[in-house]
């Protein structure tokens, strides 16, 4: 009989119609402003600056090395070095940025700044509700707005963050061990001291004997 296909189709749409009221599972639309899907771990939108500890400006990992500014394809990063240095996580004095601005209206979310950063200081965020009424100032964010704690980063990108944290932990331990060794060594000649850090890298895999006592003491400290 002709026309049966049409009737079948009509029944199907009628079933959809009735089903959408009785079975909420059918309505897969996300009602966006009220409900949001959890972001996936690999989502990346705009960069932010990572800091350690509680004080954002003191714990900023950025050392104002200008690599990201130079590498940024649309040149949306603007950095001014500060004259005052501050100690980094291993206690070494580093340059810090006086100004660190990103024009997120220009940023194209390529993530090159993240790839080139040698200090794990700049990472990709997952925020996306960035629209503002202010056309010029509102999208130019400075370092106080960009700075976000490491815990936030851990929350966003768990896998990546745990790797970075492990590496940094290791470096810190090595630095502390080196400092302890330095403190323990009674006034060695100044000549071998600068030569020591390059030797530390291979030494990390197979711990040399003079550093072993320092390691267990330093390990619990950052774990707290």
């Amino acid at each position: 009989m002709h026309g049966v296909g049409i009737i079948k189709g009509m029944i199907e749409t009628a079933r959809n119609f009735a089903g959408s009221y009785t079975d909420p599972e059918r309505l897969i639309t996300v009602q966006y402003p009220e409900e949001k899907l959890p972001p996936v771990e690999n989502a990346r939108t705009i960069p932010f600056l990572v800091y350690d500890g509680v004080d954002a400006m003191a714990g900023l990992r950025c050392t104002a090395c200008m690599i990201c500014e130079k590498e940024c394809p649309p040149q949306c990063i603007y950095i001014v070095k500060d004259q005052v240095k501050k100690p980094d996580f291993v206690g070494k004095l580093q340059v810090q940025p006086k100004v660190f601005d990103i024009d997120i209206s220009v940023c194209m979310s390529c993530g090159i700044c993240v790839e080139v950063c040698p200090f794990d200081a700049i990472k990709m965020d997952q925020v996306f509700e960035l629209s503002t009424n202010d056309r010029f100032g509102g999208l130019l964010v400075d370092k106080t707005q960009l700075a976000k704690p490491n815990e936030y980063f851990v929350k966003l990108h768990k896998t990546e963050a745990s790797e970075i944290d492990a590496r940094r932990e290791e470096e810190k331990q090595k630095a502390e061990a080196a400092a302890a060794a330095k403190a323990a060594a009674p006034k060695p000649t100044p000549a071998p001291a600068p030569a020591k850090p390059p030797a530390q890298a291979p030494a990390a895999a197979t711990p040399p004997t003079p550093q072993t006592p320092a390691q267990p003491t330093a390990a619990p400290a950052p774990a707290k």
Binding site: M1, I6, F17, L27, Q31
Partner: protein
Amino acid sequence: MNGLDQVFVRLCHWFAGLFPASVQPLIACIVAITAIMVVFASCFALTTIVERKVLGRMQNRFGPNRVGPWGLLQPLADGLKMLTKEDIVPYSADKTVHFLAPLALTVPIWLAFAVLPFGRNMTAVNFNSGVLFFFAVGSASELAVFMAGWSSQNKYSLIGAMRAIAQMISYEVPLVLSTVPVLMLAGSLSLNDIVAAQGTYTIGGLARWNVFTPWGLAGLLLFLIAATAESNRSPFDLPEGESEIIAGFLTEYSGFKYALFFLGEYLGLFAITGLAVTLFLGGWHAPFQWLEWVPSWLWFAAKFGALIFLFIWVRATLPRLRLDQLLNFSWRFMVPLCLINLLVAVAWYWSGAWKSVVAMPVRWLLCAALIALPYHWLGRALRSASQSPRKYIYAE
């Protein structure tokens, strides 16, 4: 007659009674016009939102639900958007014709509502050739579509207009032919008489609507298909097929003129739905005798709403036809079937005189077979015509 049934008629008389006797007919006219315009304009607003909601639900979406409670204020927002938009007239357009086209589409369609009986004693004008009037004013919309398409000086507009006219002319034939059995058996062209002819009840209290006969059912289906094509709705929405020719004859229209076209299309749909209700579904009569106490205009509104829902349902279900399929369907299937339906109505009329116990089922079977067999054959012929393997003209 209970009071609720005649409440609008009484209101109109009361209002006209406030004026001196010489202007009373004029006032009654104005009241009727205002009532029709207000009711159907708000019906238009309501239908746009209901259509979008129902389409959404049929596609497992929510549909618009942002403006107001459950999105009910969406038509208001749409209307405001339309009216505040810039009215752009193309540089090379024929300005006068471009301006007149939306008016030429909308004004005749408002006229068509004048003859529809919305309830007991609720017909604005009772022409004794009401059906002819309806089709006459309906045919003016073809010229308006042509004016819109031609004056825009745009290829898509012209193609859309040509498609629309070809489609409207092709489907006007089955549209008119499918109403002929009703007119023949009612013996009148007046819509009031047609409604009155369906106003009696058979044994069991079932109404004698035309749709409860074999020819009436076939006629209603043919009429609804032709009406879908006449009002350019999916699956016959080729004139404005978005995926092919942007928006057809509406391409160069914006703002208020576009809104007028939109209004005109929906009003055309309402008018033709009202006609379907009147001709086949017994107008404002109740389906069962024991439901007579419900006000007549409520019955009309219920049937009207059900048919509008059917149109939306079909739109959600069926994909768009190709132009050759569309024309073949009209000329090879609809028109012959309408003519055969005429014969079936004649057979029904003659067999009405049979006085026997088995007469009723035999009559039914005979008429149903008379319409079902040609349906089958014509459908098979159409299928073999449209499903022949596609021939490539240049590739072979």
